[in-house]
Amino acid sequence: MNYFPEEVLEPVFDFLSSNRDRNAVSLVCKSWFRVDRWSRQRVFIGNCYAVRPERLIARFPRVRALILKGKPHFADFNLVPHDWGGFFYPWIEAMAKSYSGLEELRLKRMVVSDESLELLSRSFPNFKSLVLVSCEGFSTDGLAAIAANCRLLRELDLQENEVEDHRGQWLSCFPDSCTSLISLNFACLKGEVNLVALERLVARCPNLRSLRLNRTVPLDMLQKILLRAPQLEDLGTGSYVKDPNSEPYIKLVNTVLNCKSVRSLSGFLEVSPHCLPAIYPMCLNLTSLNLSYASGIRDTDLIKLIHHCWKLQRLWILDFIGDEGLEVVASTCKELQELRVFPSDLYGVGNAAVTEEGLVAISKGCLKLHSLLYFCQQMTNAALITVAKNCPNFTLFRLCILDPTRADHLTLQPLDEGFGAIVQSCKGLRRLSLSGLLTDQVFHYIGMYAEQLEMLSIAFAGEGDKGMLYVLNGCKNLRKLEIRDCPFGDAALLMDVGKYETMRSLWMSACEVTLGGCKVLAKKMPMLNVEIINEKDQMEENLDDSLKVEKMYLYRTLDGPRRDAPDFVWNL
């Protein structure tokens, strides 16, 4: 192997698209390490605090595409205090100096300031794609800078971010010379955009394939846009409200007939159900439908719509659909691979909109299903066992029973057997979220059968340390473990400290681990950052080691404790 000149190795390595493969080849020998190092263009960093930006730049000097993730997953559910961290600025500051060729950035759960967006927009002449998912800290001013300065921008995709809307003219900041847009998603913005500028932008970007509008864009404008861009493949509607007798609606009906390429549909934040027939022609070819924000589409309107969607592969929906609606899905959507059913009633008493019966129906009809997120009121072991038998191909199985410690509602037993069946049957399972009444037994099953499991989310489950130990000992491929409100303590935490270096991170909140236990762990494992989040007892020096820790987040890192931790985060 030594006599392969490096110029030959490089194009060979080009064929390796997976980062895992590239990581593997870089370990073969120094020469291969060098070739990979200089030719690596795409880097994925699952935890922004695992490495410092400088180390990334030193190791891979010619990166063009970077994926960065910041806050832990439970930050989505308000379990992580607001200013915990995950700041993007240090990264962009370092990259601006060294990566002239940066083209793509994808950030998730990071704090992104307008300043960093402005720096980004000015520093990379070839910059093409910015995707921000669940980020915060920026306003439409930052977006204006991106629009104005990134001359070759192809993609601006904002997914579920908290953006401060200054109701400015950010959309008008795209210069007339910008004709390269392929994808634009501003559905999460709350403020109005300049509709004239929007129409002009759409008109001059012939390659626009994906457009997701926000709720301030009215139906008339949707019609005009579709007229200009019949080539769209992915559409997110804005406000879909109109009198079905009105002229704009009638125009829309006709315009839609010409939009033969739409495969993915979303939006409908505001909707007049009587206007839905206009999009039925689109439904016939849809592979992806996201109605999870469409609280105005219910009952018969929803089911009528689903009846048209028989090529659907991905469906995100609210639990208005009900068990009967899910039976319609099961009989109509035979190609379904991914299903997410979100709860509509977050605060009220709640009527059982979907139950285990809907899930069983889906499992009988949708044999290609491999990804599930299901919020429901109740579940039974029998149902889960049936689902496991019908759908052995699950790679992602997330079940959320709204009452988190609810038992099998028929037998009043814990749901151990049901989940046990899932992990035993679905040999390719990579991600699992549990809920309902669960004892240590379920963890026994998980440790025994869930060999491919990479991410596990546990809440209000288990009886003692044994539960956690089953998982840590059994799941060889575990990367992320997040636990809340479970009776797991120091004994479990400290049994196999080396395990955590094989994982990306561990989160434990409202468990039994103590300050003393965390200190021991931190001392034994210098390659881990063990962070304690304590919002109450901030400055107390003489805290007892037997104190139970409110929230602990530990992760492996190459660069030691982070320097941007706020007061309430202690790095042990």
């Binding site: 009198d243 934040l269 410690t405 038992a407 009886e463 409202a510």
Partner: protein, 203 residues
């Protein structure tokens, strides 16, 4: 380290008790498998003694079989159900079921026009304001209404749009804020000719 299930019976903490269930549900299932100990402790910020070693169970003891309806102001478990805040914030909470129904089905009111052989109906929810509604009415009945002015009403046209409000009075369209209008409008009437002139005058 397993705690015991305690139940605060002396103090009436039930009203403010943090529960794992949704409001209106009871932990009736907790009675069974005796091997399951509910070690769940109350979340620290709900607990009076913040750093105590004992922890009171957040579940109720055995004895309650039926579901009761509880007042809607029950405490919620932080971060449960696990839904992104962005998604939670996107839903405007429905105050009452009546409101929810109204939002789902729209506000349909009859529209009559003097001289027209039959009435129509419009869904007021569909319009964002007076200009849109007026345009729709103009299209529906094929007439022209001109512009509204606070002082003179609709003076450019022989048609005047009016509505009957909750008190049964006939009002000129456009005087009150839109939201107030749609909540008080019971029916619409487009007046024509001499009858209209009286309403159109400013005071």
């Amino acid at each position: 380290m397993e705690g015991t299930v305690t139940f605060e019976s002396d103090l009436n903490l039930k009203a403010t008790e943090l529960r794992l269930g949704l409001p209106g549900t009871n932990e009736s299932e907790k009675q069974t498998p005796p091997s399951v100990r509910s070690n769940k402790r109350a979340l620290p910020d709900m607990n009076e003694e913040s750093r105590s070693k004992n922890y009171s169970s957040v579940t109720e003891a055995a004895g309650h079989g039926d579901r009761e309806t509880a007042p809607p102001s029950k405490a919620q478990v932080v971060g449960w159900p696990p839904i992104r805040s962005y998604r939670k914030n996107s839903f405007q909470p429905k105050k009452t079921e009546a409101d929810a129904d109204a939002e789902a089905t729209g506000i349909y009111v009859k529209v009559s026009m003097d001289g027209a052989p039959f009435l129509r109906k419009v869904d007021l929810k569909v319009y964002k304001g007076y200009p849109e509604l007026l345009k729709a009415l103009e299209n529906m009945f094929k007439f022209s209404i001109g512009e509204y002015s606070e002082r003179d009403g609709y003076t450019r046209s022989e048609f005047v749009p009016t509505y009957e409000d909750k008190d049964g009075d006939w009002m000129l369209l456009g005087d009150v804020p839109w939201d107030m209008f749609i909540s008080s409008c019971k029916k619409l009437r487009i007046m024509k000719g001499s009858e209209a002139r009286g309403l159109g005058c400013g005071v």
